[in-house]
């Protein structure tokens, strides 16, 4: 029975529901209010909204008024569309009334029956003519719903459908937004986690977006965004990969840059990738900055030994080899230590001695050295430079050369490394019992590594390396590479040493051969001279003897007397020559006694004083005060001194200066006779020690040859240095006896 009151109520309810729908963003939030309004005019126990699922064969209970115990029909849960009341509503587009669920017309009926629902009403929800779902009422009583209920629901269903559609759209947008935000966050996480600097730049090469890593790599104190590409990457127009990417529009463009960071050289590869927008225009370029230092390091490590090998092939000088080895340890990325010191084993002295060091002596020098080194892009270039400039003579080098340990002194790290034949890495030199305070303080050691140089399982030396100035820790890897490197270095040093020994041997052999030739020549000449001398002496004696008789007999005949006198004089001169030849042909074995060379020199000068004064020669003496006594034959040596003084005097017929000097030098006594005479032309200096060679109209040419023979017999050396027009210096070197050297060293 319908009254006007009822209609009014129904209209109010519809109005209220419209208002509720209009003011709600999400129908779920206001659903309870809608149900309450409906209940004012319709008697029902349950209200729900079902929607067609995303998959068209399912339906979803969008909202439901009562919470049932049932498991099947819960909010948000999909159920099969087939045989459901919604399927009918969609199919017909018309409301469906179920008078009694006991008939079980639909699959849902059985479920609802269990819940106590006996009758149902379903009204379609349409948007733009499509059924998107239905609003459903249920009652515990059968035959509860009529056409007037349908009519009421149809009044609110279009608005409700629209509101639901809006809600769904709104939710989808929010979901998309969330997903987008998540995607963005995800990208940022990835980009920040990457070890690669990434940035985007526009056509003006201004950076519009960048990750943190790019600032880190390029030493920027702030974000790269807003900066211009050339400011950050310091590249010129021609090689700029970003420019290329804009110009070409596709592909990848690479460039490698070197920069110094915390005192270490870093290699950075820039890769520019053009990015096209929807229109196919390149408006942006993505630029990646990748630190490839480690990769470069590996390459360096591999090429290090090859390069050293190449360099060493052309280097057999021991000092150069040392320097190359140490430079390899300090330069380049493979090892790159701040300092490297080389110690070599001296077997004769049972010692291990500092040979050379490469590296700065203080932080200032370190900075300068690194600047210098950074000029060389490749190790090859640096090695070449090292060979050209030669040793550096730094304070560190000098300090190192002063270090020597006994090979039995196991307290010393270097000795321990040598004896144990293994690399030692010392982390804290101050608290490590394997390091003595003396060694630590001499080199200012903190953390260092010590590796043996081995040739055929024998240790020939030790390399010590550290990072005093950068303080970079020494890793296992560093120590390992250094010992690998040490193997090649040891071989190279061994080769150079063998070569040097060979060279010494060859030189000795050449010297011996020359001496032998000289003495053989002397012996042959001597024998001949002796024979000739004897054969001449006898007739000469007779001639001279009779000449003297004649001289006496013809004393009153001036002509006879004068003539015979001339014969006597000439014979005398010939006999004098014969005497010197006789000395030369049979020089006696030296009778060596301990002699003070200075005294011999004084005697010689005293003997010749008058003679020298007569020619106008001034003598300057400079006799070493610390000259030890040496074993020489004083008579023979005096003969040599006399010869050299006489020789000097004869080169200064118009007077001059004779400087005589004695001193100890390199384990021998050096005696110089320097004159201010006319000097000796080079072609003549080669011959002056040959017997019977003379440039003088008088003299026999045996003086210097005999002098050299005597000095040779004393294991000494007689040499000459001469400058034409300025004078000559004759130098004698006499070895100090073994006992002398021993005493000096001790």
């Amino acid at each position: 029975m319908k009254t006007a009151e009822t209609y009014e109520l129904q209209r109010d309810v519809v109005d209220n529901i419209h208002r509720i729908i209009a003011t709600s963003l999400d129908i779920k939030d206001t659903y309870a209010n809608i149900a309450a309004e409906l209940r004012k005019v319709i008697d029902f126990d349950r209200v729900s909204i079902s929607l067609v699922g995303e998959k068209k064969d399912t339906a979803i209970t969008y909202v439901i008024s009562t919470t049932y115990n049932g498991q099947v029909l819960r909010e948000g849960e999909p159920y099969p569309l087939k045989k459901s009341i919604l399927e009918r509503t969609i199919a017909t587009g018309r409301p469906v009334i179920i008078e009694d669920t006991e008939n079980k017309e639909f699959s849902t009926d059985a479920v609802l029956l269990q819940e106590g629902i006996r009758s149902r009403l379903s009204v379609p929800l349409r948007v733009k003519g499509n059924v998107i779902g239905s609003i459903n009422l249920g009652s515990k009583r059968p035959n509860n719903f009529f056409a007037e209920h349908v009519h009421l629901l149809e009044q609110i269903s279009p608005q409700l459908a629209l509101a639901i559609e809006n809600t769904i759209l709104f939710r989808n947008i929010r979901k998309s937004e969330e997903r987008l935000r998540w995607e963005r966050d995800k990208l940022q996480y990835v980009v920040d986690a990457l070890d690669i600097g990434i940035c985007l730049m526009d056509r003006e090469l201004n950076i519009t977006w960048a990750n943190k890593k790019i600032s880190e790599i390029w030493n920027l104190h702030e974000s790269a965004v807003g900066m211009a590409c050339p400011v950050i990457f310091h590249c010129d127009d021609i090689i700029c990969p970003a420019r290329k990417a804009f110009e070409r529009g596709e592909g990848r463009f690479h460039d490698i840059k070197v920069l110094t960071k915390d005192g270490r050289r870093r290699y950075i590869e820039n890769v520019a990738i053009p990015i096209r927008d929807h229109d196919g225009d390149v408006k942006r370029v993505l630029l990646l900055s990748i630190d490839i230092t480690d990769r470069e390091k590996r390459i360096h490590q591999l090429s290090l030994l090859t390069q050293l090998g190449d360099a060493l092939q052309y280097t057999l000088q021991l000092d150069k080899v040392f320097q190359l080895v140490l430079t390899c340890v300090t330069a380049g990325h493979a090892l790159g230590f701040n300092r490297a010191l080389l110690f070599l084993v001296n077997k004769e002295q049972d010692a291990i001695c500092g040979k050379m060091a490469v590296g700065p002596s203080d932080p200032d020098e370190a900075r300068r050295a690194w600047q210098e080194v950074s000029k060389y892009q490749t190790l090859e270039g640096l090695l070449k430079h090292v060979v050209e400039i030669g040793p550096l003579d730094s304070r560190l080098d000098i300090k190192t050369k002063l270090i020597a340990f006994s090979t039995s002194d196991e307290k010393e790290t270097v000795v321990r490394c040598m004896r144990e034949k293994i690399p030692l890495t010392i982390k804290d030199a101050h608290n490590d019992p394997r390091v003595t305070a003396e060694f630590r303080n001499a080199l200012g050691l903190k953390e260092f590594v010590c590796v043996p140089l081995m040739v055929k399982s024998e240790v020939t030396g030790v390399i010590v390396a550290d990072n005093l100035y950068t303080g970079e820790p020494i890793t296992e890897e560093h120590a390992h590479i250094l010992s690998m490197f040490a193997k090649s270095a040891a071989l190279a040093i061994d080769n150079a040493e063998t070569y040097k020994e060979l060279e010494d041997k060859i030189r000795q052999l050449t010297e011996t051969r020359e001496k032998l030739l000289r003495s053989e020549r002397l012996a042959a000449i001597g024998e001949m001279a002796a024979y000739v001398a004897h054969e001449i002496r006898n007739p000469l004696t007779t001639i001279g003897g009779f000449a003297r008789s004649i001289e006496r007999l013809g004393a009153n005949n001036e002509k006879i007397s004068t003539s015979s006198k001339i014969i006597v004089q000439e014979v005398q001169r010939l006999e004098k020559i014969l005497n010197s030849i006789r000395d030369f042909s049979k020089p006696e074995e030296p009778q060596k006694t301990k002699t003070q060379i200075n005294k011999l020199m004084e005697d010689t000068l005293e003997l010749t004083e008058g003679y020298l004064k007569e020619i106008g020669i001034t003598v300057y003496k400079e006799l070493g005060y610390d000259l030890p006594e040496v074993l020489v034959d004083p008579g023979q040596m005096k003969q040599v001194f006399l010869n050299l003084v006489k020789n000097a005097a004869e080169s200064m017929p118009k007077g001059g200066t004779l400087n005589v000097r004695t001193c100890v030098e390199n384990g021998s006594i050096k005696i110089d006779f320097a004159d201010t005479g006319e000097g000796i032309p080079t072609e003549v200096t080669e011959k002056i020690f040959m017997p019977f060679f003379t440039t003088k109209s008088y003299g026999t040419g045996v003086g210097l040859a005999l002098s050299q023979k005597i000095v040779d017999d004393h294991e000494g050396k007689l040499s000459v240095f001469s400058e034409t027009g300025r004078g000559s210096i004759f130098s004698i070197r006499l070895p100090l006896g073994n006992d002398e050297r021993g005493r000096k060293r001790g």
């Binding site: 004897h534 007739p539 007779t542 001279g544 003897g545 009779f546 003297r548 005398q572 006789r582 006696e588």
Partner: protein, 121 residues
Amino acid sequence: MITILIVEDDKNQCLLYRHELSEEGYSVEIARDGKEAVTMSKLNPPDLIVMDINMPGMDGIEAMGKILGENNKIPIVINTAYSSYKDNFMTWSADAYVVKSSDLMELKKTIKTVLDKKKAS
């Protein structure tokens, strides 16, 4: 008169010695090699022998050994062109060693000294 035996293979030198030493008042005998010297000094021992060393056949050193073996009272002065024989210890048994020279002063002086020494003993 004091007799001096000159042992010398060089004919002209013998002549010179005879000449010079005769002038000094000595009686001079000549032997032309070592063998002759040995024979002569055995037959008629001289007061002094002046002995050359390098001679054909028996040399002066060998002759000196033989002579001294027979009669070690005869003083011998070695007179040679070589100074190197000084190293030969055989020559040490001689009373003097004079290297040959056209100036016979030294030889004459040595002969005198050796004879004086002999007279004194």
